[in-house]
Every structure is written in structure tokens, then in C-alpha cells.
Symmetry: C2
Subunit: 337 residues, 2 copies
């Protein structure tokens, strides 16, 4: 099926079909409808890369996501996608390899911007350390990093950033446990090598302990590899090392699930014998049994800010901005009352 | 940064840079390394769509996934991706809109095969009803539907299919409950309009009841919209309508989580007072509290078969095949002993 077949079936000339395909106004409504009907019925899609590329170049915003399946970003992509459409743009969604780090991340961005001519890029979950003014010098379109495990000098002004107060949020989680008479507070982090978000959350944990004159103990720090299974094992190790452990702060909800399960399997009642607090505000923290007290990230707000900032820059209505949002502690049943 | 800059920095001619980029053998190792180093340091990516398209066309296998974030497919994509690389091909991953149905699905496939010239397509989660010999007549490359909510005439031979025994699996789940002295067995399906997988699982449920001379009652059938929250509400409705309810079969694990939570919130102990069985074998069924008995789908095996069948066809070593695999009941703690 090609453009000639469509013209023949519709009983019109090639030029007319071409005008319909390219949304040219100079076609009678009746003719347009007839051609569109035939195109649809025959599942005809114009096979013209050049035309597609040209068309895409005018109004496409790229959304790059770290990792193929990260449910954390699901809701954010929904919102960003809707706002992109509402503003007359098209979303081009791509995933990067979860293991990409450092220079690979930059190459992903450059490759992405060359794939089609993008108006701008939102990158969810970018993992770059010590971003400076040279990091993005080869990115030629406006760039917003959102929900990012990155560190940067706040004087850098060639990209925008939308994130949360990492240190303060972890401080609040730990303080919440301390205020409820917990003194022997374990923490389950991701991986030892992590220097971004995880180290900031560890810092918040330590600051809360110091402020309450509680000693920081190495044996209270464990690593769950950001997985449920990993946190299950990490919680068992924490218990084995620390007979007096009274609570655990997990830096993600899916790790809080693993830790809770490990304790329950040992006959330790979470929320009665030992307390657990998570981080993220994922749906499973609400539906787990017991429901898990957590620090909810403002995913919706992060999404709205990301696309708003990007559109402002594209439309020359604004400059790059760095937006850092508050999180919210949601009290449930995994912490002793 | 363009190819001339690379040539200048490397102190070689344009042709040499071009040969390095195109992996042409006629370059000294030392020169190749120098050029590659400069390309890498400068994050230079050849900006030549024609070349990229040509290069992609020779060895690319497309993997299309229904829905942006479906954790069910995560592991399958990992395996398929690995096998694609091992066989010297490149994977091109795309997601389709979760709401796409019928003709939209076909358009997605046609659009995908035109994006670059693919050697073949694996489509995970395709939702097409009554596939016949005309359905895929415009798909010009080998096509494998895997883990698909589709119905088709088994005489159709222009695509391959890898799936599970839906009716039998649901029969086994229901029979398992009956054998453990459950008689008032509710079922939580997805949506009323579903005619594919959900109706087959409902059929298996009904057949098991009939075989044991248990009446099929409309008030035992509920819909949870495939979501945790939806199943939470559906379980509450089942309980409200049926004081004698002794068990629930949920046709997905994330719905089993919602149903379990609803019962626990009502003070009903799952695995003691009422039994729940899920479907899929997702990680959360293992880590939920209580752990959830489920029908595990052979995701790894489905992935291996999908890519094996496709590669056989591409290499002219095999014909289209329809492979239907067994599932496995995993006994945990959500069903009364």
C-alpha cells in the first residue's frame, strides 16, 4: 500500500493525498474526510523518514528515563505527557540503560538530541556527579533534570533542576523515630559506592542522631541494593548484629517492604516490636500489611514543575531554574505509637 | 563538534575518521585508537541519520511493549535483550499506549516497522481480539506475540505466539481452593468488557466449580480494574454481598495484594479466616505479608521461546509456531492449610 494506491482508491490525485497527509488547508473537507478514511482503513502510514523527521523537529520534547522499568517515574511520565500534548508538543520517550554512569549519561543525552531535532529534554533519574558548567556544554537544547541522583554546584546555570530536599527529608524521618523513643536506629541504604542521593539521606540520618546526642554506629548501617530482596537480607543482618535494634529507616519503599517482611518472618511485629519507616510514597507502602510510614516525594509537583520550567525556557519566558521541593511524612502503622 | 574537528584534533584526514566511525578494517590500530579516544573525549556522535538508518536496518530486532510501565515485562525484556545481543542483533525497544486497542494496535506495529527497517518484532502484551489471516497482512517482518491478551484462530500462520494455558491455569487455581474445603469462592477479574485473558480465566474458574458440583453465582464475581486499589474495593464488595465467602481467586498478583489488604483491614486474617490466591508470580506475592499463593507464569521461558522462535524465522531455520506453556502453582501462606 503506497500513496498511489490511496490516491486510486480515493479517486483523487497524488497531490491531494499529499496535501491531506501534510495537513495542508487547501483541500475540501469532503475530500479530506474521504482520503483520511481510506488511509485509516488501509492502515497506511506515510513512509517518508525525511518528512517525519522534519515534522517531528518542529514540536518534539524528549523525555529520557533512567532504567526501563522504574515505577517511581510512571505517574510523572503520565503528567508530563499530558502537559506536553496540551501545549501542542509531541512527547518522544526513551529509556537509558540503568547501568549508564558519568560520561555514558552525557552520550545518551547527545545521542537523544541528535535522533530528531528536539525542542528540549526532561531527564528523569539522571545519575551524574559533580555537574559543572562544562558537563552539558554539548547539549544544545534546554535541559531539565528531574528527580535526579546528581550533585552539582548551584552556580551552574546551563540546565534546570527539579528535586527534593534530600538531607532535610532524611533528617525528618530519623527525628520522627527519635521522638517516638527510638534510640537504636538502623538505616538501609542502596549501595556502598553511591555518592548522590543515598549519601545525602545518610547525612540527614546522622545529623538527626547528632542533634539528639545519639552515637552514630557503623553496625547500624546496611545496604539493600535498592531491591526488596536485598533489603530483606540487609534487615536480617541488622538484627543479627544489633540485639537492641528498635527501628530501621529504609531509603526506599520497596526496601522498606523487604525489611518489614524479613522482620515479620522472624516473628518480629513491625509497628509493635520494631518500627520501620520508608521513603518515596509508593502505592505499595499504603497497601502493605502493615501499611508503611514513609516520606512521600511530591511526584506530581515535580512533574508539573519540570514541564513548566522547560516550556518557559522554550518559549523564552524564563531562565533555567533550580527548584527544590519539600517532602511529606505520611504516618501509617509501621512505627510504634 | 563535527567530523572535521575530529580529523583536525587527531591530525588525520576526513576519510580516516570516516573509516574509524564505520568500523572499516583499513585503519592502523594506533590511528584507530587515537581517533576513537578523541571521539569519546569530545562526546562526538556521528550526526548522519542516513548512515544510522542504514546501519540499524541490517541487524535490528524491535521489541514493542504494551504500556509504559508494566513490571510483568521487566524480566522478559532483560532476557530478550541479552539473547538479541548474543546473536549479534541490536534491540530497539518501544512502548505503546496502554489504551491502544484493535486497529490502533496494528497501526502501532506498522509504524514501528517503518521507523527503521527491522528484522523482526516481538510484541509483549498485545491486546487484539479474533486475529485472522488478514490482521497482520501489512506487517512485512516476522512477528512474535508474547504474553498476549489476544484470541485467534489456530489456523492463522502469519505470526508466532508464545503464551500460557489460561483456562487450565485458572482451573488449577480454583481446584486448589476446592480441594482445601472452600466452597464459596469469589473471583476478582479486571474489567467487565474484557474478552481475552480475563474471560478465559473466568472460564477456568467456572469449569472447576461445575466439575465439583458447586453453583456458579453472579454475586461471587467482581472487577478490580487490574489495580491494587480497585481490587481493595472489589474485595470489600464481595464481603458485603457474601457473608459466607471463604476464598477469593484474583486474576493478577497486584489485585491479590489489594484484596488481602482489604480483608486484613477488616480484621479478617488471610490464610486463616479467608483464603486468597493470585496469578502471575510477581515478586510482591513472595514478599507480601502474608506471602500470597499464586499461579506463576513462566516469564523466563516465554522470553526464551519468543526470541528463539523469532531468530529461527529470521535465519530461515523455522516456521511460525504457536507455543502454549504450563504455569506453576506456588504454595505460600494466603490459603488455609
Amino acid at each position: 500500500m503506497n500513496i498511489k494506491d490511496i490516491a486510486r482508491l480515493a479517486g483523487v490525485g497524488l497531490g491531494t493525498v499529499s496535501r491531506v497527509i501534510n495537513n495542508h488547508p487547501d483541500v475540501k473537507d469532503e475530500t479530506r474526510e474521504k482520503v483520511q478514511k481510506i488511509i485509516k482503513e488501509n492502515n497506511y502510514i506515510p513512509n517518508n523518514s525525511a518528512r517525519n523527521l522534519k515534522k517531528l523537529s518542529s514540536n518534539t520534547i524528549g523525555v529520557l528515563i533512567r532504567g526501563v522499568f522504574n515505577p517511581f517515574f510512571s505517574e510523572m511520565v503520565d503528567i508530563i505527557g499530558k502537559r506536553i500534548s496540551q501545549n501542542g508538543y509531541t512527547m518522544l520517550l526513551r529509556h537509558t540503560d540503568y547501568s549508564a554512569r558519568g560520561a555514558d549519561e552525557i552520550r545518551n543525552l547527545i545521542e537523544f538530541q541528535k535522533e530528531v531535532k528536539l525542542q528540549g529534554i526532561i531527564y528523569l533519574g539522571c545519575d551524574l556527579k559533580e555537574i559543572d558548567n562544562t558537563t552539558f556544554e554539548n547539549i544544545e537544547v534546554p535541559l531539565v533534570l528531574a528527580s535526579t541522583n546528581s550533585t552539582y554546584n548551584t552556580e551552574v546555570n546551563n540546565f534546570s533542576y527539579v528535586g527534593i530536599k534530600q538531607i532535610e527529608s532524611a533528617f525528618i524521618a530519623t527525628k520522627y523515630l527519635i521522638e517516638r523513643n527510638h534510640k537504636n536506629i538502623g538505616i538501609i541504604l542502596g549501595i556502598k559506592e553511591d555518592i548522590g542521593l543515598a549519601s545525602e539521606r545518610l547525612q540527614g540520618y546522622k545529623e538527626a542522631l547528632i542533634k539528639s546526642n545519639i552515637d552514630i554506629k557503623e553496625e547500624f548501617i546496611e545496604y539493600g541494593g535498592y531491591s526488596t530482596r536485598g533489603a530483606y537480607d540487609a534487615a536480617q543482618r541488622l538484627i543479627a548484629k544489633n540485639k537492641n535494634l528498635d527501628s530501621i529507616f529504609c531509603i526506599s519503599d520497596i526496601m522498606a517492604v523487604g525489611a518489614t517482611k524479613a522482620l515479620e518472618d522472624m516473628g518480629i511485629k513491625v509497628g509493635k516490636d520494631i518500627s520501620i519507616i520508608g521513603f518515596d510514597g509508593m502505592e505499595i507502602s499504603e497497601f502493605y500489611n502493615p501499611s508503611i510510614t514513609t516520606i512521600a516525594q511530591p511526584r506530581e509537583e515535580m512533574a508539573e514543575h519540570s514541564i513548566a520550567v522547560l516550556l518557559d525556557i522554550i518559549k523564552n519566558k524564563g531562565e533555567n531554574r533550580h527548584i527544590v521541593l519539600d517532602t511529606k511524612l505520611i504516618e501509617r502503622n509501621s512505627v510504634k505509637k
